[in-house]
């Protein structure tokens, strides 16, 4: 059944120009679309093919190409298949359209991507910060943000060997485990 439906899907998708379809498995379809064609694609998928569940919106930062890749994963409860629609947008200024009108879950994902990558979604109901409300650095998930350097600058974590740990080690406890026990825990006899 699902085979038939997805072939029908292939026909359907041909209606959109510039789309590239790759069938990865019986239940996974990858579609590469131009950025401006995505809303039309999603509308089509939702309205005519039953892809009513937006599973996730993922963002990938291709810093070398100076592009963001946005991936919309939509699932159909009828044909039991998942279409991942990939688009690429320019890293600067990093603005794209919201699909909240079509899929309400997009509200959360767009908000999340906004604070993690700094992409602004036009028309999204809530672009306030959610997780990083008290963070004033750059969007942390961008590739140029070096987490380790940030930590080295702001926080102390190295060379932590407090007296109580030394005592514990002196007593024979703590982190020192004989090498033969390091790989697997005790065997049952």
């Amino acid at each position: 059944m699902s085979q038939e439906l997805t072939h029908w899907l292939d026909d359907l998708l041909e209606e959109i120009e510039g789309i590239k379809i790759r069938r990865k498995s019986s239940r996974r379809v990858r579609a590469d679309v131009p950025a401006d064609a995505l809303p039309a694609l999603l509308e089509l998928l939702q309205g005519r093919a039953g892809y009513i569940h937006l599973s996730a919106i993922s963002c990938v930062d291709w810093i070398e190409d100076d592009e963001f890749e946005l991936v919309y994963h939509v699932w159909s409860y009828e044909s039991h298949s998942l279409v991942s629609a990939h688009i690429r947008i320019a890293r600067e200024p990093g603005v794209y359209l919201s699909v909240y009108d079509l899929y309400q879950p997009a509200g959360f994902f767009e908000r999340d991507i906004h604070e993690m990558y700094g992409i602004h979604f036009e028309g999204s109901p809530n672009m306030e910060k959610f997780i990083l409300t008290e963070w004033d650095g750059p969007p942390p998930m961008r590739k140029e943000f070096d987490s380790e350097a940030y930590v080295n600058e702001h926080l102390n974590w190295q060379e932590y060997n407090p007296p109580w740990l030394q005592e514990l080690i002196a007593e024979g406890g703590g982190v020192i485990i004989p090498p033969e026990e390091q790989r697997f825990s005790r065997k049952k006899d």
């Binding site: 008290e134 963070w135 987490s147 930590v151 102390n156 932590y160």
Partner: protein
Amino acid sequence: MSSIKQIPVITERKGNPLARVFDEFVRFCRSRSLFILHYCTGCGAIELPPAMTSRFDMERLGIQPMVSPRQADILLITGYVSIKTLKRVILTYEQMGSPKYVIGICSCTVNGGMYWQSYATAKKLDEYMPVDLYIAGCMPRPEAVLAGLQKLMDRIHSGEANSWEDYFRNYDYYLGNQQKLFGENWQTPTDIITEAKHYDLIGEGTLGKHTQLLEQHQKPLEALDMRLGHDLKEPTE
């Protein structure tokens, strides 16, 4: 009955045997009745319900969970503290009533644990507040938690668990670390310096350049005292 308040936790005077017995009794009671704050700061909190409930039953040691920081004695930092949480943890810690004890559960509180690279979590808990006891592990088993709590009980009984005094005595150090992380105009509603004076716990490290910085920014929240108001200006209407 003489006032308990007047008797410090660790007393050097051996004069009045009755007072010594009484003092001992109070310390004993403190060690046998511990209220844990019900605040799941991190993933280690998942091992607290087993420790509380039927299998390990914390209540047989006189330990029970409490809801608000005012009621609690122990602040369990169960794992990593993200910076956003750390602010709340410090607020909560300052709202708790002394003597208060902090237990750092899980490795993350010791040195950041497996999140050592993370931009979002604080690494060394004892830079921001005095910690009485660490229970290392990822995550420590309920038995370990209970063993740690028993160790704390012993320390309370013997009078060693007085790190809360350290927060007042070395406030400048803790505040400095907090300011480094949260920015220069960081403040909480609690006025620690006045409180330190209240307990007579002003130490050499209480005041310093960080507290000076605080005083520049702070709008101290003084308690609304009851007054007849004759020294005030005309009411605004």
